[in-house]
Symmetry: D2
Subunit: 360 residues, 4 copies
């Protein structure tokens, strides 16, 4: 009820602060017999981790080794709750002294103070981006359940700031640090990021995510629709300000005859629906687009107030990303995996009479 | 778990099919002592109801009188669950015969059939827009709780099809059937709707909603953020394909220094955040934008398949809206009211130590 | 959150007051394709109903026809929420005038007044035994799911007042109005009830329930143990004051070597566990014993206070059972069926890897 | 959904196995501003811990220091989820080899194997009594919330095996290792335990718990009654086989005129209700009695079967309690505290209109 739990059958609860001993997650409802090893987490954790190879990311270096403290015996899940814990290793509270006095614009400092009568001034505490390591770790378990069912997910950066991809080259996207799929606009993108960094400023962007292989029938009417749960999952990530499914906001400009996807014996002729009809997956590719605001921590001077309400200016010093998109992508994917996994198990439970073969 | 329940403390469960005896909702968790009368529902129900005064809306006429079957004694809530029931009065299943054979493009026919091994061909059954009368009725109870706390909500139609409001005249919006706020573009809008209707086609649009008077501190980290729950609430409405908070997708194009709202002793200088920081209300106006696809039921011929998978063409005959925006607005507002009301009661429960005066 | 919902996947929400329009229940999570007809309810509803054939029961006569208002199409569940509604037909509020002034001992009058600042003086409102018709109706749906799986449940009256069955003749129990299984003590039982009635008094008793055919593996560690959920289900019935599983309180007097059930290749040699080990069904018969207090509504004079706290005496006049056991039995069975059904669906959802054949 | 979560607003999730790295609990929904220190746990943890001072308890010695890994900053709760972790220190898996082959009678070995297709043979894994350290730790947080409200809880051992306390001397109970309140029968009790131990056998018993200072109005109709939730909480503890409230099973033998508690201007004249009427606390002392089976781990030979279903005899060697009552008492108390605390916060949330002063 404190809001730190997500999911119904496959249910995760995260805990931990950015500058405490560590961050973790309990996963309850994971079926037994799934193979899990500490190495399984490395690929995903390293994507989320700031890297010196990405120009414009924070210099804080965490190893982010995931410790499995329960629920796994001899490399297999037992059906018991799984506890994953990631130590915080590089904690310097010193640089956060100013945060005891003033609210950072664009951060949760002000609202946490209003809600809880305090705020954890050591770098955001619970609302720090560091909380997302727990989500990524949980997403790895979800992935272990989805992979054998043939469900795959991949994302790319549709835009950063004013630069939008006009051509989608997935191979190119995988091999550049911003997961940007358009080789033609890449130089322009790099220049824009360099400029923002030079100005002590930051950039947002839009991520597009595709889920393939999802069987028809996932999603529960009328509130726990698959798109409704995906929206909540994605919107619960710190910097996200918008989400759309399929044609999304563009659908609002179409006529019905354009937007409706004709159904052919071979499948849907188009995919404006983004793979979801009436809140239930239709077997087509699921498409989600996520709008991410620029990182609020910037070195530029900003107007703010003190805890006592007095005017003040703040210019942050510290380890900040210029653009967080590449690090948010694994978080978006983890949250979507958790939603799909949860709905997969829900479909198994409820529809005992006529369940597609592939669910069993 | 069937997905028909929404909310945590203020919790609603809807039931009923468009062509069955009626539609209803149980509200559990409503505090005692709230005055409720059957007339309280009329204003909201009539907004959702198709009206002959709105050009382009279905000719189905329902009276939509709300019967209070439990939880209210002598005009006051007792703390017991409240059952609201709305009879279906104008049920003609005859015109739906074709739906026994083919899937309507853009509807849930196909996915319900895949999920449940059947579909209720009498006009959509559970995934009909008629289900939303229950949401609107529940929203009235939420409104009764929010009004004394000074929380108000209002919406207008930001765009329909290609016509976007460039000027916001709230008075004008309240007094035209499309809740469109721009008098300068209104003629153009009417022409566009007339054209679409003449073509047997339909139009979508974007709704902007403002919540005023919401105290700071509503929303629970990290998953039940206020914006995350609003997104789920709004995305769970049938035709919605996108949602954004504050600057939304535009925030993705800004730099941090532009997007961050400076904090002044008098309050926030701008409101790109849309009233929510770190998932918690900041006391400023909350702004939500909702993208609605064009109604999928159109008279134009469309390609589809039969339940056996054979090619077929379908041209629907029946009572369809050309543009559903004005009828969806009260549903969006009801869902947002329910979210705010639920978070209001959650804040009361959890933050027993330092709770703003106005919560008590 | 108001407490009127029970279950996780197979989830029921009841509503309605004893002297309002009626009582009902929404069942969400019922799989599609289950055959349901209005007549299916008659057998169970009539067991719960007061009958002139049972000496010592109230003379209030309700027909208790169950109306199916949603979720069923052409006699089959659709997967949508099922709304069952039972009209109140024989409502005389007149005889309840005294209840506006004083609290009845042994009833919820006092606590509801303290909690909600009011009490519904029309016969108990929400805490009336009449609320249980909704539970019995929901139990019929659960039964429809359990029957094909070969899970059966039956109960008898182990004791009423001081008379305890020493011999169990199930055939005899089925054919007498108190479901008392001991023909040798039956005369004595009848005399005791006659005496209590003559004195304007009432009697409690103990019910023993047996569930056969339950597969091993139902129940979730560590809180949602099958016995924990059965205990909550049974204790949530108005007059219940105790519950035990298997040897129950007698197990507390045994040594480990007596109480442990030896495991043989043919099964468990004894059943002190009552069919549940570690909170999970072991495939043996599940045995539950429920202690029911005497009905608090009696004609004898009792000391009480007014709403203003002044001393007063009360002697109730009305339609009261002398012994409610036979009418509570179907409620106990309904609640246990709902628990088993819910855990059956949960086991289906979570244990996707190694699930016994019969679950699918 | 895996069953490892308990509570609604004050919600705990436990994890960890008896022979893994440790046991822990996440508490979500704890209000901010509660003072918590690692030392707060010592008193409660040491009561649950086996002690060489108690004749007849296991010789396994754990230090059971509770580590606070999140949710507390500078000795105060922040409103964020609290993670408590207790390392396992004295893990010898070696002695558990036999458990790879055969099922121990009276344990969850058989049912876990049937449910999950495996069982964790290292001493019970998740269904080990060691799991309860997490419950006791969470109960300490609940106690921190209840103490300032004047809610106190204490328990004693009503009976062990055949020896029942006939006189209640609370002072005496506090000062003997079995918390047995009857000095006259104490010698007899000691002899009985000595005998059982000499025979390699074990003993069960009954615990009586009293909650004082609970305000009227806690408990939610109709399923989340206070007594229903207490029953579930207590029944979810491993060895518990029965629970009763107030007069409990004895109420079933009384007449209504005896069992009803007369209401006087000064309060209730008797307390057969055990402080709960209609599922809601009435302000009187709450009384709960819990039946605990003898510990199933005994040195005596018992009949069992192997995982392949072949006959076998087992005589356990290891560190076993003869009587677990004194170690289960803190677990019972912790679970009841958690229930009361949860209902306290629920009452705060829902009854916003007319709430007794003391709730705020």
């Amino acid at each position: 009820m404190g809001g730190n739990t997500f999911g119904n059958i496959f249910r995760i609860t995260t805990f931990g602060e950015s500058h405490g001993p560590g961050i973790g997650v309990v996963i309850d409802g994971c079926p037994p017999g799934i193979s899990i090893n500490p190495e399984d987490f490395q690929e995903y954790m390293s994507k989320r981790r700031p890297s010196s190879m990405i120009p414009g990311t924070t210099s804080r270096m965490e190893r982010d080794n995931v410790k499995i403290l329960s629920g796994v015996f001899k490399g297999m899940t037992t059906g018991a709750p799984i506890l994953l814990f990631i130590n915080n290793q590089d904690v310097k509270s010193g640089s956060y002294e100013i945060l005891q006095r003033v609210f950072r614009p664009g951060h949760g400092d002000y609202t946490y103070f209003k809600k809880y009568g305090h705020y954890d001034f050591r770098g955001g505490g619970r609302y720090s981006a560091r909380e997302t390591v727990a989500r990524v770790a949980a997403g790895v378990i979800a992935q272990k359940l989805l992979a054998p069912a043939g469900i795959n997910i991949h994302s790319y950066t549709l835009s950063i700031g004013n630069i939008t991809a006009e051509r989608i080259d997935s191979e190119f996207a995988r091999n550049n640090p911003f997961n940007f799929p358009d080789p033609d606009n890449f130089r322009e993108l790099e220049r824009q990021i360099r400029d923002a960094r030079a100005d002590g400023d930051s950039l947002g962007g839009v991520v597009e995510t595709h889920i393939n292989g999802c069987p028809p029938g996932l999603g529960e009417p009328v509130f726990d629709k698959l798109d409704a749960d995906i929206s909540k999952a994605v919107m619960s990530i710190g910097a996200v300000k918008g989400v759309e499914i399929g044609a999304g906001f563009k659908a609002a400009q179409m006529r019905g005859s354009e937007n409706n996807d004709p159904i052919l014996p071979s499948g849907f002729a188009t995919n404006n629906a983004g793979g979801i009809l009436g809140g239930i997956s239709n077997g087509d590719e699921i498409i989600v687009r996520t709008a991410i605001k620029p990182i609020p921590s910037i070195k530029k001077r900003q107007k703010t107030i003190t805890r006592e309400g007095r005017e003040e200016e703040i210019a942050l010093n510290g380890r900040f990303d210029t653009c967080a998109i590449p690090r948010i992508i694994p978080v978006i994917e983890a949250m979507i995996r958790i939603v799909i996994c949860d709905h997969y198990l829900r479909a198994k439970a409820v529809n005992c009479v006529k369940l597609p073969e592939e669910y069993r």
